[in-house]
Point group: C2
Chain length 347, copies 2
């Protein structure tokens, strides 16, 4: 059995939708056992509502709750019995194989890093997200764990993104792009220029610098970026979708013909909503820590939680962390032996 | 008369649409004289097509053209007789009051900074763009001139954005937000934390940190950001709109009812396109250099060029640079005297 701890109190709709998502996942995957951490009474009440009594879902009591407004330091130092900390401890003791949380991202990163430690050879963890593009799914790393990365960190992100894309997205030779403000080699900060040189001789399929425009084109399977820019892009993107929807709704209300038109277009819009929906992706992976940790969106629905658990399960089954250790070992010890010509064309 | 030099060879559709836009502007504004710089024969040919012979439009020959792929150094050192350099020289000599270019941004920034110099007290120039939001027009600075800003530069961007918003957007008390990865004071790099302290005591109406999500909500009239993140957001935004349009077109083609629906929605979509269109904005301002310089989008249409010239004209009429000098003087010399309580609510 695969055992996954779910932070029952993390997220804007916890424990309600978190428990619902955990129940869905336990139903969908036969090999799965879910341990929900958090206030026993609150979680029990939710489980009763779903008529779950024992079986594949259990509760591990934790008396404290980390709020979205807590700083990572506050969360870790002052709330040692939080639902997050208890989950991470279970993973540390190998009582579970993974942790899923939709709570405070900063606290999840700090708690995982301090409690679990990093994989051998890894210098800094990174948050990886999947992105819907015009040509399928791409990934971006880092989107907020490391806002001032060294060149070496960016190289390690490239290696981890390559592994994730090979094993979880089944791409044979993922292309790697390094986010910059221009495609020319002369552009960008010294850190980026140094990272460029490191990735270029890493043996990865490196297509060079990419720009913000490439985020949703799918030109690059893996987008490597600093956590500051990655985070800003991620949050801006969300607001653009909201703005588009608000503008469209406002305009359409003005005119009954447009209202009819919108009604007729609805299936097309629904299909796009599915394709671009974060619920399908379910969560971001915190890569580089010694354990599988998935960080869901704060506004996670039950479906998003269910899918975050699915990704945790797949990461365990595919031994993503073992492959990262291998990848870091082989690439960092044979840096200059293999070089691949730089091209922007996919193989 | 207001005299504006237009870089006749800069932009993807130069000189064709650049000349067309210049002709439109000269027609629309009686007080305007336009000097187009670039290859005389090519520009003359375009002017003939519009039946312009003399009058308010003239040509200043320049033998060289800066390509989009040229680095700023190449552009400045090797192409001293480029259409851009000739325009900037005219501004330096005060033969014109402003320069408009849709060419290579890096070259425009470097050439303006080196040739014109900076306004008294300004340490680094910044590129300001206008953003369509749910609540009217906001501005963001910097979106690419300065990818590694010091705290002091960010303060100066805040002061310049405040001036622009007061005088060109007619907002009485513009709110200033500093782009970060979270709204809490503890978040972000040391540079940002230092900038936060400086802006807080500047006397500006500072609402604190904002995140990517706030870019299109209009919560903040002025968004101050580092040039790297600003540039990435700007370019990502463009690609999202393209992706949305491509996805919608693809989905709608599948189904004739949806096609009919899309037809009925068309006026609503057209209205949104107008509201969010870069053509209306026309161009970005390079603020902080000693002269009015407008940098248009590389793909500028005739209308975008016309509107870039309009913004140049307004900046001249409103004496934006004089107000910046005053603003820098008064704010930097009376830093600690005025503080305004931090609030996220607009007055």
């Amino acid at each position: 059995m695969i055992k996954i701890a779910v932070d029952g109190m993390g997220g804007d709709y916890a424990p309600h939708l978190v428990v619902e998502g955990a129940v869905q996942a336990a139903d969908d995957f036969e090999d799965l056992e879910v341990i929900i951490t958090g206030r026993e009474d609150a979680i029990k009440r939710e489980l009763y509502r779903h008529k779950v009594r024992g079986g594949k879902i259990s509760i591990r009591h934790a008396s404290e709750v980390i709020e979205m407004s807590d700083t990572p330091v506050q969360a870790i130092k002052k709330k040692k019995d939080s639902s997050l900390a208890v989950g991470i401890q279970l993973l540390k003791q190998r009582e579970v194989d993974a942790v899923v949380t939709a709570g405070n991202t900063g606290a999840a990163v700090a708690s995982s890093t301090l409690t679990l430690g990093l994989l051998p050879g890894i210098k800094r963890p990174g948050i990886l997200i999947t992105i819907p593009t015009l040509h399928g799914i791409s990934v971006a790393i880092d989107v907020g764990a490391n806002i001032d990365p060294a060149p070496e960190h960016l190289l390690q992100y490239a290696i981890m993104a390559d592994i994730y894309t090979r094993y979880l997205l089944r791409k044979k030779k993922p292309s790697i792009g390094l986010l910059n403000i221009g495609e020319e080699e002369s552009k960008g900060t010294e850190t980026l220029q140094e990272a460029y040189k490191l990735i270029r001789v890493s043996g990865l399929y490196f297509i060079g610098y990419i720009v913000g425009r490439d985020f949703f084109t799918g030109n690059s399977d893996c987008i490597v970026c600093d956590g500051f820019a990655g985070n800003v892009v991620l949050k801006t993107t969300e607001s653009i979708f909201e703005m588009m929807v608000a503008l469209i709704s406002k305009e359409i209300q003005k005119d009954w013909l447009a209202k009819l038109g919108a009604f007729l277009c609805k299936p097309a819009f629904e299909s796009i909503r599915r394709e671009t929906n974060y619920e399908e992706a379910g969560g971001a992976l915190l890569l580089g820590v010694d354990g599988v940790v998935i960080i869901g969106h704060g506004i996670s629905s039950a479906k998003a939680i269910r899918n975050a658990i699915r990704i945790a399960r797949e990461s365990i089954l595919e031994h993503v962390n073992d492959h990262i250790i291998e990848g870091i070992n082989s690439r960092l010890n044979s840096n200059s032996s293999k070089t691949i010509p730089i091209s922007r064309v996919n193989p």
